[in-house]
């Protein structure tokens, strides 16, 4: 909790509060903390996708000098949460089963004095297994679909619609691939007290989960996650390696560090599951959508059910009276998937926004106009509640102007520059804007130095910076005097940073804490000036060096005086805020319109992004630089999703192939064009005192469809299977 106090740079207050610490390496990721006497654990993965372990071969590894112990299902410590009937309540029951559910499943943890010893010894551990059938082929077995949400209207109402469209869309597995490897350092400081340095998206969630597994109160566990090098959803649950580190630390009575390797990151911390979608739309000749049938399937593991909410976006974005959504999960010999940036909606948007584009060509109608005709911007069609704010139509219109949509040729394949075909595409994104109960503490010193504290993690999104911006605005104290402390379970409680709820949640709490601070200071100030006795918080003004009353220049009292007269040390307040009755009256959403221009080489199939424009409604923009950074990053993620990201399994062996960064491609700078991001910037008056709606997820949602829609406009080739690598262009 000491790294967020660096001096701010010239472009403060926009600058990242943790920026200098990050780029100088002073900021520490979970694995980088120095813990005296720490020993190193390396996990060994199964080499088969199914079976039962008959024998563990650990003799050779144990003989390596420096090896301390090798944990497996044969010798793990007693852990109440993984024993008996609870087995998969906490996910993969690591070291509590001899069954293999997927290839790469951790079967042993080699603990050694040095990382090098542990790695070498781990390479010598292997097991004998019984042979069992496995399946990693998503398309092999027929799976029945079930209703997913309430049906609206009926099929009969639109079976004779003038224009009908029916298409299937598929996406391969995608990997979160954060820069920082998942890692845990675990140390039992007393019999039932555990200290964890851990990469995750929510320290309080880790306390509850690990407490549940080990049967100890959550408050006995201290979790520190001050810097998180990206996560994209992979840090939203506790994974087996964290439990393995804590088990080994308990068994050996030593602090144990476990850092995943990059290939292990592909099988041990989730992924966006492979998916299939079927979309049927009926419309009248004027482009009024009459009915939609959206079906979806996604991969899950054999030991847990994970459903991505793929059809959710279709239920919310368009005003369609007849709607049926269905889904199913496909159990495979794979590890369990997890939410990945824009979960569900990102996949669903590829389906519905591709289908809407296809429909626009059938109608011979501008796809932008088709969207404007059908968006549901007044009410949430699913709940019937009014949107608190929804500026999607403004996003559509502004985006079209910025990209120069009028230069699009409505006839595919007609805009040609040499060997390159040029195409314009657009698509929409939608995300339910959430907010969760969060606490924040503020400490003020006589010098005017303000410290804002919250357990929330900042996974690279700029949460800490936003907290400072909000505190500065609500106290009047300059940014450079504000210190942020976060990512530690000793601080006031916060939800996990996920689902784009971070800023809405912590922002509301920071505002509440600022109010509490003003009121507390006013009670001291009342000892000097009676006008403070009946003052309302909104009339209290704070400055760098003192407190005052609005429109009353005589009321100013310096902090020096206030502190001396009242014999104060540090003034501390804590406040909690969360969603309330507004959720009974309004629905909340963040929305975006994506536009892009692509060029496709007519001979080689090479696709090059030429330009991307995104206009988003995220309510109040607290920090435009950080907000634009979120959406630019999401767009680059969208390029990856559309054009290159895929993790395949070899179905002969039931094992991932090429699961490293040589094999799994995400977009690099060289793949990204100029990306222009702008915001509607109107406050949502109901979501929280700050008025901000989350932007992390929505930036990616719809992006891939905008790109494939542009490929169609360029070439006349409709790409319904992601990613669109050049071979698919050539062969279609």
């Amino acid at each position: 909790m000491c790294f967020f106090d660096e001096p701010t740079t010239a472009d403060s207050p926009k600058a990242r509060v943790e920026g200098i610490a990050k780029v100088t390496g002073k900021g520490k990721y979970a694995a980088e903390y120095d813990v005296a006497g720490v020993v190193h654990g390396v996990l060994v993965g199964s080499t088969v996708a199914a079976g039962t372990i008959i024998k563990m071969h650990t003799e050779e590894a144990k003989a390596i000098p420096g090896v301390i112990d090798i944990l497996s299902h044969l010798n793990r410590p007693e852990v109440p949460g993984l024993s008996g009937d609870n087995k998969t309540k906490f996910g993969l029951p690591i070291f509590y089963t001899d069954k293999i559910f997927f290839s790469g499943q951790p079967i042993a943890l080699v603990v050694a004095e040095t990382l090098e010893d542990a790695f070498y010894a781990a390479s010598l551990v292997y097991a004998d297994y019984t042979a069992e059938d496995f399946n990693t082929d998503f398309n092999k077995n027929k799976i029945d679909l079930k209703a997913d949400g309430k049906e609206r209207g009926s099929f009969a109402a639109w079976q004779n619609a003038a224009i009908q469209l029916e298409s299937e869309y598929t996406i391969q597995n995608e990997m979160h691939s954060p820069m920082e490897m998942h890692a845990t350092i675990a140390e039992w400081t007393a019999g039932d007290k555990l200290n964890l340095y851990d990469k995750n998206q929510g320290v309080n969630g880790v306390q509850r989960f690990v407490g549940g597994v080990f049967g100890i109160p959550p408050e006995n566990i201290h979790v520190s996650s001050e810097f998180v090098g990206g996560a994209f959803g992979s840090g939203l649950r506790v994974w087996p390696h964290t439990l393995a580190a804590a088990m080994a630390a308990k068994q050996l009575n030593k602090p144990v560090k476990v850092v995943l390797t990059r290939p292990q990151m592909f099988v041990m911390v989730g992924y966006r599951p492979q998916s299939w979608q079927h979309v049927k739309i009926g419309a009248d000749k004027n482009g009024n959508v009459l009915g939609i049938h959206h079906q979806a399937k996604n991969t899950t593991s054999l030991y847990e059910n994970f459903k991505d909410n793929i059809t959710g976006i279709t239920r919310k974005i368009y005003k369609v009276e007849n709607l049926k959504t269905e889904s199913a999960i496909v159990p495979l010999n794979m590890s369990t998937p997890i939410y990945m940036r824009g979960p569900g909606d990102c996949t669903g948007a590829f389906g519905i926004e591709s289908a809407m584009d296809e429909l626009s060509y059938k109608l011979n109608m501008d796809p932008k106009e088709l969207r404007l005709k059908n968006t549901s911007v007044i009410n949430d069609p699913d709940s019937g509640m009014p949107w608190s704010t929804n500026f999607l139509n403004e996003c559509i219109t502004q985006g079209a102007e910025k990209i120069g949509w009028e230069n699009r040729n409505p006839v595919p394949g007609k805009k040609i520059e040499g060997d390159w075909q040029i195409g314009y595409g657009m698509a929409l994104g939608f995300w339910n804007s959430g907010r969760q109960r969060t606490s924040t503490a503020i400490q003020l010193e006589k010098t005017g130095k303000l410290t804002v504290q919250c357990a929330i993690t900042d996974i690279g999104t700029g949460t800490g910076t936003g907290m400072r911006n909000i505190a500065a605005k609500n106290t009047g104290i300059a940014s450079e005097k504000i210190k942020i402390e976060l990512g530690d379970s000793d601080l006031p409680k916060a939800p996990s940073e996920g689902g784009s709820t971070g800023l809405a949640s912590v922002g509301g709490a920071v505002v509440a804490a600022c109010e509490a601070l003003k009121i507390k200071l006013a009670t001291y100030a009342a000892n000097q000036n009676a006008n403070y006795k009946t003052i309302k918080p909104e009339n209290i003004t704070l400055e760098n060096n003192g407190i005052g009353i609005k429109n009353d220049s005589t009321a100013f009292i310096s902090f020096d005086e206030l502190w001396t007269k009242n014999n104060l040390d540090t003034v501390k307040v804590e406040a909690t805020s969360g969603p309330g009755d507004e959720r009974k009256n309004f629905a909340f959403c963040s929305v975006i319109a994506h536009y892009c221009i692509v060029q496709v080489h007519s001979k080689t199939g090479k696709i090059k992004m030429q330009r991307m424009v995104s206009v988003a409604d995220g309510g109040t923009i607290v920090n435009e630089k950080a907000a634009a950074n979120q959406v630019i990053g999401a767009n680059i993620g969208g390029i990856g999703m559309a054009l290159m990201e895929e993790q395949l399994a070899d179905n002969n062996f039931g094992r991932l192939v090429a699961n490293d960064f040589a094999g799994y491609h995400f977009a690099t700078n060289a793949d990204a064009p100029m990306i222009e991001v702008s915001f509607i910037g109107k406050a949502d008056p109901n979501i929280s005192a700050v008025g901000s709606k989350g932007l992390g997820e929505v930036g990616l949602i719809g992006c891939a469809a905008a790109i494939t829609n542009a490929i169609y406009n360029a070439t006349g080739k409709r790409m319904r299977d992601l990613p669109v690598t050049p071979d698919k262009v050539i062969m279609s």
């Binding site: 080689t604 199939g605 002969n652 490293d660 062969m731």
Partner: protein, 326 residues
């Protein structure tokens, strides 16, 4: 990684003296060797650091250029003589890997890169190249990146280098010092091997011998050349198909042509028949298309890489066109 003894050799003789059959490996830039050791594919008892044992010099003469085996890839790509007289080489190097890797990788090591076939890297699965006789997982597995020419029933892996495609096109020679100290020159076209029944052998470098340099003869291919690399992303990805093309033009007539490809075979592949066709022809689209057809006629795809054949044909046409237009 298995523990090993580390020796830093200060000259070629010491390096060769230290080398013991099967048990020792050389390391230069380390960009491939260290990966292979981390993945337990290479596990030498002794690692001989040759960074100060072999030449770091680029020497130009009126007959050609000699690039010391320890010259870093980025040094070649930025060398003025190379850029002026052998620009195809610079272009190919810059299409490969990342700036960080090119700053480390050596010339000799570039020739000795192992394949990036995913099955070669996964020690849990069969691979004839890594473990002779264990089988080829790629033939019936994920073979999207695999070869389309010169394959065998035992291996369909491709050679990964970009630099080597240019060296093949430019008729380079590999200078070698063998264990007993004698010097050899190996024609580039004979340096790398096809898999046949011994896919574990990538090349014909004698055991424990050292590559000391690469020689490229003077040529007229510095005006009309191109290196086209098609890949899944624009940086840090291996080629789906790459084409090194160079034309020696006399007005509109092609006096001589060079055409080589990566991503197609177990070795850098020269399209000799297509080159012969182009000699004496006009530089027209029709002739380029014909050359591309000739090149692709002996190719054969597998389940996931059949696209490489039309992609190769297109890439050859575009690369030849780029020789005279870009």
């Amino acid at each position: 990684m298995k523990p090993f003894q580390y020796i830093k050799a200060t000259d070629t003789a010491t390096a060769l003296f230290s080398a013991k059959k099967q048990k020792s490996h050389y390391v230069a830039g380390g960009t491939n060797q260290v990966d292979l050791m981390k993945d337990n594919i290479n596990y030498p008892d002794t690692l001989i650091d040759i960074t100060t044992a072999i030449s770091k010099d680029i020497t130009a003469t009126d007959k050609g250029i000699i690039i010391g085996a320890m010259v870093r890839n980025s040094t070649i790509a930025n060398d003025k003589t190379v850029k002026d007289n052998y620009p195809l080489l610079a272009k190919a190097i810059l299409a490969g890997a990342t700036p960080q890797i090119r700053n480390m990788a050596s010339t000799g090591g570039n020739l000795l890169q192992r394949t990036r076939c995913p099955y070669f890297f996964d020690t849990a699965l069969p691979c004839n190249k890594r473990k002779p006789g264990s089988g080829c997982s790629a033939i019936k597995g994920d073979n999207r990146m695999a070869a389309i020419i010169g394959t065998s029933a035992e291996c369909i892996a491709v050679h990964p280098s970009d630099m080597c495609i240019a060296l093949a096109a430019l008729d380079a020679t590999v200078q070698v010092t063998t264990k007993d100290g004698s010097k050899q020159s190996i024609l580039f076209k004979d340096f790398h091997r096809l898999p046949g029944t011994t896919p574990n052998l990538d090349n014909n470098l004698p055991e424990n011998a050292l590559i000391t340099g690469i020689k490229i003869p003077v040529n007229n291919f510095y005006k009309n050349f191109s290196y086209l690399k098609l890949r899944d992303r624009d940086s840090y990805a291996f080629a789906l198909i790459s084409v090194a093309a160079a034309l020696d033009m006399n007005d509109e007539t092609i006096k001589d042509a060079r055409l080589a490809s990566g991503g197609v075979a177990h070795k850098p592949w020269r399209w000799y028949e297509a080159e012969a066709f182009l000699k004496g022809k006009k530089a027209t689209q029709a002739n380029f298309a014909q050359a591309a057809s000739i090149a692709t006629k002996g190719t054969k795809g597998f389940e996931h890489n059949a696209f490489k054949i039309p992609m190769l044909k297109a890439a050859i046409e575009v690369a030849l066109t780029n020789c005279i237009t870009v």
